[in-house]
């Protein structure tokens, strides 16, 4: 089930109402049943994989917490990692690695939706139990709900056990402030996804779908707009997830913090997909030694993390290259930091320049991320000098997108408790945003269905 599917508009109000009507002791069962229904709706087989992965990781973590011997704990950790990463490897990467080895897979393996997200969530739980930083959850129902909680199941945020598990266990009370904050998050998320991201999609798809016919200005603009599209798509999903969870009395972690306003690429990664970046930092970068073992080792660690991050996004060379470019940026940044003499230059002009530079540096690799193949990416780069004589003509059809893009700046500044500001302006904003969302959504439905969220494929 998609957040922007008509059935979700029926599903969520029912779950919301039942959740607050039922006593606390029955809520986990309702939320778990709802979450599994939400997931099984896509594909029955993939649902069994989710349940199986959940069961194995729960049993291994219980075993780790009950076993006295270090070797036993380690063996159970390795078993849990092997099962989780094995499933991810088979379902997500088998085709990719087979193609590298020159083999043809005899069957097409369906990629289960959200497998990368819930696998990372189960891994963080088992590793944390092994490290002793969180206790093992004895109740399978609560643990299964932690893995499958439907607002964040298919595209994150990748939650940590210490944040989500206690909230699921705690008795939650209905509050008007949660209702208001959750409602605003839902409005923000749907606006970003349905009005902004989906309005930009046709132009981006047209340019990237026919690279041989694309002109230079179109390629640059489509790449910039793809950066905006993927941001609105994914941060919109995260806002809907946080909003839906908040309406159920659960606080999910923030996943985006105005990343395009970052002054450096390093800062960009502290603001973009925060739950994944912090996952890689805690479970890969720091165990590899982080920045503690000298500059060359730090650069290697950064490159390893970003290559893995690229692969996490997709089984393809375009994603690997995207990750590599970001890794090189950060490695170069680490070198610069080490050899910088004196404080970084400041001033208004310098600040503006650092924002523009970071935006350009981050936008360029989106070309590889969005291209269908490395061949397409090379073709697009080779066509950059073409078509500059008719720039105006090529870009005129994009004028209707300007008002849509204009919404992004204030939307990014929307206060957490926007509903507590002036009531008349809040009501007008809700009215206009709801009208725009409805118009865009109905137009999509009339055109033959809604656009899936981009991050579902990961």
């Amino acid at each position: 089930m998609n957040f922007n599917a008509p059935e979700f508009l029926i599903f969520f109000p029912i779950v919301f109402a039942l959740h607050w009507l039922l006593p606390h002791r029955a809520r986990w069962l309702l939320l778990l049943a709802a979450s599994w229904l939400f997931y099984f709706w896509w594909n029955f087989g993939a649902g069994f994989l989710l349940v199986g992965t959940t069961l194995v990781s729960w049993l291994c973590a219980r075993g780790i917490s009950r076993t006295g011997s270090a070797a036993g704990k380690r063996a159970l950790l390795i078993l849990a990692l092997a099962v989780s990463l094995g499933c991810l490897g088979v379902f997500k990467y088998a085709g990719f690695f087979a193609s590298i080895a020159g083999l043809d897979l005899l069957m097409n393996i369906l990629l289960p939706v959200g497998i990368s997200f819930y696998t990372f969530q189960t891994l963080s739980y088992v590793i944390d139990v092994y490290r002793g930083s969180v206790p093992a959850e004895n109740h399978f129902g609560y643990y299964a709900l932690f893995v499958s909680f439907f607002p964040q199941l298919v595209a994150g945020p990748i939650e940590r056990p210490e944040n989500l598990l206690p909230q699921l266990r705690r008795e939650r009370t209905f509050s008007r402030s949660n209702l208001s904050a959750g409602g605003w998050l839902l409005l923000e998320g749907y606006f970003k996804k349905v009005v902004i991201a989906d309005s930009l999609a046709p132009f981006v798809d047209r340019v990237y779908g026919a690279p041989e016919a694309a002109l230079g200005p179109e390629i640059i603009l489509a790449t910039v707009l793809f950066g905006v599209q993927i941001y609105c798509d994914f941060s919109g999903y995260s806002a809907i997830a946080r909003g839906a969870a908040k309406l159920l009395g659960v606080d999910l972690m923030e996943n985006f913090r105005r990343p395009y306003a970052a002054p450096t690429v390093r800062e960009f990664w502290r603001r973009w997909h925060i739950s994944l970046t912090s996952w890689f930092t805690d479970y890969v970068y720091i165990p590899l030694g982080g920045s503690r073992r000298g500059l060359p080792r730090q650069m290697l660690n950064i490159l390893i993390v970003f290559l893995l991050s690229g692969l996490w996004h997709g089984a393809g060379w375009t994603f690997v290259l995207w990750g590599l470019i970001h890794g090189l940026y950060l490695a170069a940044g680490a070198v610069r930091e080490r050899f910088r003499k004196g404080p970084a230059p400041t001033g208004r002009g310098m600040t503006a320049w650092s924002h523009i530079r970071t935006f350009a540096l981050v936008t360029f690799p989106w070309l590889f991320f969005r291209a269908e193949s490395l061949g397409d990416a090379a073709l697009l780069l080779s066509r950059l000098p073409a078509g500059w004589s008719g720039v105006g003509q090529a870009l005129t059809p994009l004028l209707p997108l300007v008002p849509v893009l204009l919404c992004l700046l204030p939307l990014e500044r929307l206060p957490e408790r926007a509903g507590e500001r002036d009531w008349s302006l809040s009501a007008l904003t809700v009215f206009c945003a709801a009208a725009a969302i409805s118009a865009a959504w109905l137009a999509q439905l009339a055109g033959g269905g809604q656009n899936a969220f981009i991050y579902f494929q990961f």
Binding site: P400, P403, L406, S424, L428, T429, C432, A436
Partner: protein, 78 residues
Amino acid sequence: MLELMPASLFAAAVLLTLLAGFLGRGRSVLTLVAALCAGAGLLSGLALGWTLEDLLPPLALTCAAALAALCFGRGESR
């Protein structure tokens, strides 16, 4: 003239919203009139055969004005 009606109504809604956000006085009345203008613009657009895609840019512009007024304007807490 009639074809210009939706566009004029949306333009009035944008202007009134910005005034409501940044003037600070008579905000409730101005936002009410702005909402009525936006609603009338929407209905007149539909009556004149505008498609939903046609209606999206003016709606988005009104929304941008409302968001800007809410975020950057003088809207104090209740």
